[in-house]
Symmetry: C2
Subunit: 144 residues, 2 copies
Amino acid sequence: MKISTRGRYALRLMIELAMNQDGDPVRIKDVAVRQDISAKYLEQIVSVLVKARYVRSIRGPQGGYRLTRKPEEYCVGDIIRLIEGDMAPVSCLEDEENHCPRQAGCVTLRIWKELDEAIRSVLDKYTLADLVQWQEELSQNYVI
Amino acid sequence: MKISTRGRYALRLMIELAMNQDGDPVRIKDVAVRQDISAKYLEQIVSVLVKARYVRSIRGPQGGYRLTRKPEEYCVGDIIRLIEGDMAPVSCLEDEENHCPRQAGCVTLRIWKELDEAIRSVLDKYTLADLVQWQEELSQNYVI
DNA sequence: AGATAATCATACAAATGCAGTAGGAATATA
DNA sequence: TATATTCCTACTGCATTTGTATGATTATCT
């Protein structure tokens, strides 16, 4: 039960954008180098973010990407779920209503629901702003 | 990020065994029918449980499987992890020590650690005895 | 002893998802 | 017009998942 590279890459990309919100738009190529990710692969990932209006793209030279909102308005769970799909640990819990015919007598479901809640609460607890702040704290430690 | 059928089937199998601890050994065939799982597939899963000494097998006619310990001595996480492998949400957290070269400057790691903890705490919170009890409560409700 | 009922072992296979690679089209800048 | 960037889509290799299939082994019962 792993988070895929797509989800993790998307989050790292979003952190980079959040940290450069005041400067020029951020190019995929640069992120790819800094984060050691295939640029072509990152392109596919960012295109999902663009379509969801999480980021805005600027084409042509001096182009790149920018967040459309403030970092504190993106919670980690939103980004992960957008790229990764539903994060429910079992498919019974994906939709609003459970379609599993066994659900009435299924005691394991109770565990999965609790697990789902736990996962959700961690992922929805932090925003990009938190991650940016941690990153800045980290960098400071290294400079000193 | 889903729990596989193998892990879920294993848990349901273990619940069946826990509920029949006093009676005859439980046959795979019967569990397969009741739980609507391929018997041959279940055989493969149970063999892992046998090798780990989570259950004992009795061969030949009137044979089947039995728990080796009391239901309250199996926590859900143990069963899931045995069948499913490590449940850490990222591979960096699989081993005792993190081998990722990026770890020192990786802020997302903090999220994944917290997520790992949350998952672990839910899965390790309940034992087979809890599940058996819930199952019995459920059945009662239907009888009345 | 022999038929039978169960577990045990292993190989195979179809489907799916993951993690990219590849090639080029579209667009904006200088 | 050359260039730098995003955008689009197809393809591919690999691993994992979810089983099937076949038969060997072992114990029981008549």
